[in-house]
Symmetry: C2
Subunit: 449 residues, 2 copies
Amino acid sequence: MKVVKFGGSSVASAGQIDKITKIIVSDASRRVIVVSAPGKRFSEDVKVTDLLIQLGESVRIGVDNEKAYQQILDRFEGIIRDLGLDQKVLEQVVKKINDSIFRIKQQDPSGLDALKSCGEDGSALIVSAYLNHEGYATSYVNPKEAGILVQDQPGGALVLDESFDHLYQLRKREEILVIPGFFGFTKEEKLVTFSRGGSDITGSIVAAGLKAELYENFTDVDSVYCVNPMLVDNPRQLTSLTYREMRELSYAGFSVFHDEALIPAFKQKIPVCIKNTNNPSAPGTMIVADLPEREHHVVGIASDNGFLNLYVSKYLMNREIGFGRRLLQILEDEEVSFEHAPSGIDDMSVIIREHQLPKQKEEIVIQRIKDELQVDMVLIEREMAMIMLVGEGMNQTVGIASSATSAFHKAGVNIEMINQGSSEVSMMFGVKTEGLAAAVQSLYRTFFD
Amino acid sequence: MKVVKFGGSSVASAGQIDKITKIIVSDASRRVIVVSAPGKRFSEDVKVTDLLIQLGESVRIGVDNEKAYQQILDRFEGIIRDLGLDQKVLEQVVKKINDSIFRIKQQDPSGLDALKSCGEDGSALIVSAYLNHEGYATSYVNPKEAGILVQDQPGGALVLDESFDHLYQLRKREEILVIPGFFGFTKEEKLVTFSRGGSDITGSIVAAGLKAELYENFTDVDSVYCVNPMLVDNPRQLTSLTYREMRELSYAGFSVFHDEALIPAFKQKIPVCIKNTNNPSAPGTMIVADLPEREHHVVGIASDNGFLNLYVSKYLMNREIGFGRRLLQILEDEEVSFEHAPSGIDDMSVIIREHQLPKQKEEIVIQRIKDELQVDMVLIEREMAMIMLVGEGMNQTVGIASSATSAFHKAGVNIEMINQGSSEVSMMFGVKTEGLAAAVQSLYRTFFD
């Protein structure tokens, strides 16, 4: 059996839902379906989840937001009407939204997560109703019924291992099952969402639990590209990747897949296929545990901006046992998570995502570093970008670092940071944001042209 | 006034001491002299300090070591006899050695440090006696009299700031002063040695305290080479360097200077000149606070082996706030100091000097990492070497990383680790020890040929 996940653009309109229905029923092994919330129909459109978040934030601070509420209802109403479904489906969707708003007003701490989840939940109700309407026996299965149990960490839930056994029970069901993505429940039955883009996590968890032969992830691209297509025209498509490569690529700006989505599938060695709802006959990109060794070791170039460098220097730093640990402790106390910490003899840099260190937190952190570590200098350099080269076996191949650094040289972009030596599948470079596009383009020419 | 320091080979024999006496008296501003213990006269010779350490360790465990004791006395006796000095000088030297041995036998915890310091102390007694004998008014000044106060950290003393004011008082003295290097005293008058090679530290402290116009450091080479001459034949000599460059070079295998020796001189912006006792007319290498910008940004290649990589991987490591800090905490608890800690998404490497992690400690550390951090994998890779490119302004120069990595490529040596982004004066590469020489030679051809 196959577990199939459809992303936001695949359920954005009645036309798209009709397409995915044809995809589902064209293969009898496509038995368990996971859906996202309705996404964008055109580039200026707003995702239903974004509207739900806007609405929830307004309600939480006591402001009515009739406009967002109405936009959400209009989206669902339009889809249901165009699919020719019964009004009762709309009533179910609206009831869940209204119940969640009521809970937020009652100061119920899980109200916001419940409202955020209404996009996926609505999609699942609609898709299952439409499959039944088309004559295919189908059930909507709520994550609570499916047994998707998570830790209580709103907006960043981690799945509990026992979920997988619960999910395996779904194999007994004979009809098509449709499960909303993006959320699970704690043992105390509290609804908790995954981090943003978490429908991919649900899909991967469900595929792992059911021990699916294949997990198909339908999006709006034919395959995964080897580089961000916003930076390079018509980049090469990837026919196959390993899990590790995909995970490293997802980390730095590869938006096809959510950062941690693959872990559950990875652990069960379920193959994953990325396919296009709008072109289902294209072969897509297969992501698997192992691949035969390839001649070409760099398979992808990931890139992302929005990083900063917290730089600290102090004479005799390397004589001071515990210096690095105490610096990281200050960040941990202030709940700042860091990415990397390259160090010299008398200095240390900490690379942090900019949103982790807002202005007021920056002041506290800098003051604590000055007071507690008695450093000679501490400064923050913003507008940093990271570029990551990814490929199995890459770091054991003589000459990759040389080709990569000469690509930066040709682009006239200075390398501010190189972080290599831990991961065997990637090599990371830091540059100033202004040099990002030129560097990525030059790397593409070096490794793919 | 100038402070002049003579290394071990410059006081290894009567002939050498005669040479340095001529050097001292040839310039009236050479007023304060710091000396090391007698070093090697030929390559198989044993340094007096090594003999003293052997002797001390034997005595401490209750074993007589007549051989080492006699060798030490023979060295001093030979020098004193060949210089034609009075037997009383020998008696002074022997008395200090015997007193120290007695203190070790009495379980006096500072006895070992006292014995270790007898090499420098003997040199200072002999050099001052010989200068007087040659007709130049000279005094031996003990570090206690000079006011060199240190923290109580045997074998790794750190100087206390008030020492500099005490030393400044020595400017009032009119005769030549000879101070033994390598040790100071705590406020409780306990003798404590600096780390090995610590005569350079004494020289630098004395130059800083006296606000000398120049600190001359006499060794047995004409100048500092840009690369280890064991690896490259007749390498280029450096006429000038900045403090920061010298400090980074010293860190990784540049044995001319002791790692932290320059800090006190650096803080006072005292220029330092490295000269050759055996060729005092050669200009030597000047080390200064600032230099005009040079066209050639890489000034030196330092290299050292004896490192290991402690590699840890765990899925979702980057979601776990505090992971890196807790890993470093375990090392700190076990008193293992680390050099660098490059990290990936789900993995982290910690580069450690091999002697920091002996076998039994390795087992404890690995067990704690497994138990407390529940990692998926932890392993240790030994026989790693580090290569460091050093030069002011280097990291802001497009193309250096590219030239460097292509030098590794040409040598067929894989780069295991690159650590760049913290220091502005250096770029560090990790390789397997077997590739070290080839890589350094190729880098030399790239940047200096």
